[in-house]
Amino acid sequence: MNLEDLAAASPDGQVAPASLPSGWAPSVVYDPSGRAEVVTLGVGQPGDESTWTDEVRALGVDIPPGWSARLVEVRHDPKAWVRHHQGDDATTEAVTRRRYVVEPTTTTLDLDELVAAIGNKRPKAAPPVALGGWGYIHCIADWQVGKTAYDAGTDQTVHRILDSLDASVSRFKREAKRRPIGTVVLASLGDLCEGVASQNGAVLLASDLTVTEQLRVVRRLLLEHVKAFAPLAQRIVVPTAPGNHDEPHRVMGMKPRAHDSFAVEASMQVADALDLAGGYDHVEFVTPDPDDLTVTIEAAGTIIGCAHGHQWRSPDRVHQWWAKMGHARHRIGQAHLLLSGHFHHLRVVDDSGRTAITAPTVDPGSPWFDQRNGGGPRHGVLTLLTRDGAWTGLEIL
């Protein structure tokens, strides 16, 4: 055969591609479960179901009792290149390629028996409603109720908080249509009131509310948050971390005990109110242990640590502090996610598969910070979703 013949060669000229279609070489492949896949060639059409096992056995494949061959795919090739015996010339003829699976014989159920068994079933008490697999986190951080700046004050702050709450509820409803959300975490991250402790008490001079008025506003805002989300999820968790502005005093220049906090007290007051009102058994308030500045909870398979952030002083040192907590076997050391406030701007730092997220604020702003740094952060309420140690969908509302 010269080059001209080869250039013009066609299937009709008895020269066909030497290779079989991919995956269709006659073969028997076993997998560890004992299941086998058999590919074979044959002329004509395959027989009915009763013949499949015998056809495969005829190839020399051992099919033990309780197993059978099932024909799963057939391909017909009208012009296949076939060599019937070693040394023979290849010929072109029609073949069917058949793929069988050897598998355990399916047990046939007796439908009458099955229906009778269903009829005998005694009803059981309805199980509790299953929790959705996802958690929705709404961060409550650095409200600093009572603070004034740029000719704005508590009035503007409260409107921002309530607008963000409305937006967060809307977002929750949207997300709940896309994934099952069983838990809402209202993470109270400290500095909810402007207070009286910071700046040696001078902060009170610029506040537009007295301390007790600040606490009243904080309590009622917190109550609104719980009331807004309570009808929407099977579980509401309100972990509360104390902030530096929440410290009730610094008598003689000394800090109070860590858990001595207006933010913690506001949560406990709301918890008491809901207990009296009734119908809020699915709402959990989690406050710090004595002398602890943190709380650590579990929600939707994620361990969430909450801290205000003043204990690590610089936002760059969050993971350093967190690692020390782990070294000390503090419960927050095992968290997947660390939520904090204090620094008033969004910051997400991932390290070793653990994510520290600092929430932005909704306060009127800080001329002091802006004069030093050229501008303030984007204000808003941080929301995100979590499940099984991971998080997604971070949005500032």
Binding site: M1, N2, A7, A8, A16, P17
Partner: protein
């Protein structure tokens, strides 16, 4: 910038490898008519590589079937 650096900076750069493809040597040596026919045979999936190698041997070009197959698979230097 040197041409070497130009080459290294190019995402398409592949370092030179191996000797010249035997099929390229044959294609360069034959006349235009034979080259055209040979290229048609190489492109024809119904022309076995063994037969092409035999046909070339009859024309005086000793080229193994492996060279023909490698060239047809695009794994030789002709294809970069």
């Amino acid at each position: 910038m040197s041409s070497l650096l130009d080459n290294l900076a190019s995402p398409d750069y592949r370092p030179p490898r191996g000797p010249e493809c035997g099929m390229a040597l044959v294609l360069a040596a034959v006349d235009d008519k034979t080259r055209k026919t040979l290229l048609a045979a190489l492109d024809n999936p119904y022309a076995p590589s063994t037969k092409i190698a035999q046909a070339l041997a009859e024309l005086g070009h000793r080229t193994s079937v492996h060279v023909v197959q490698r060239h047809r698979r695009g794994e030789c230097r002709c294809h970069g």
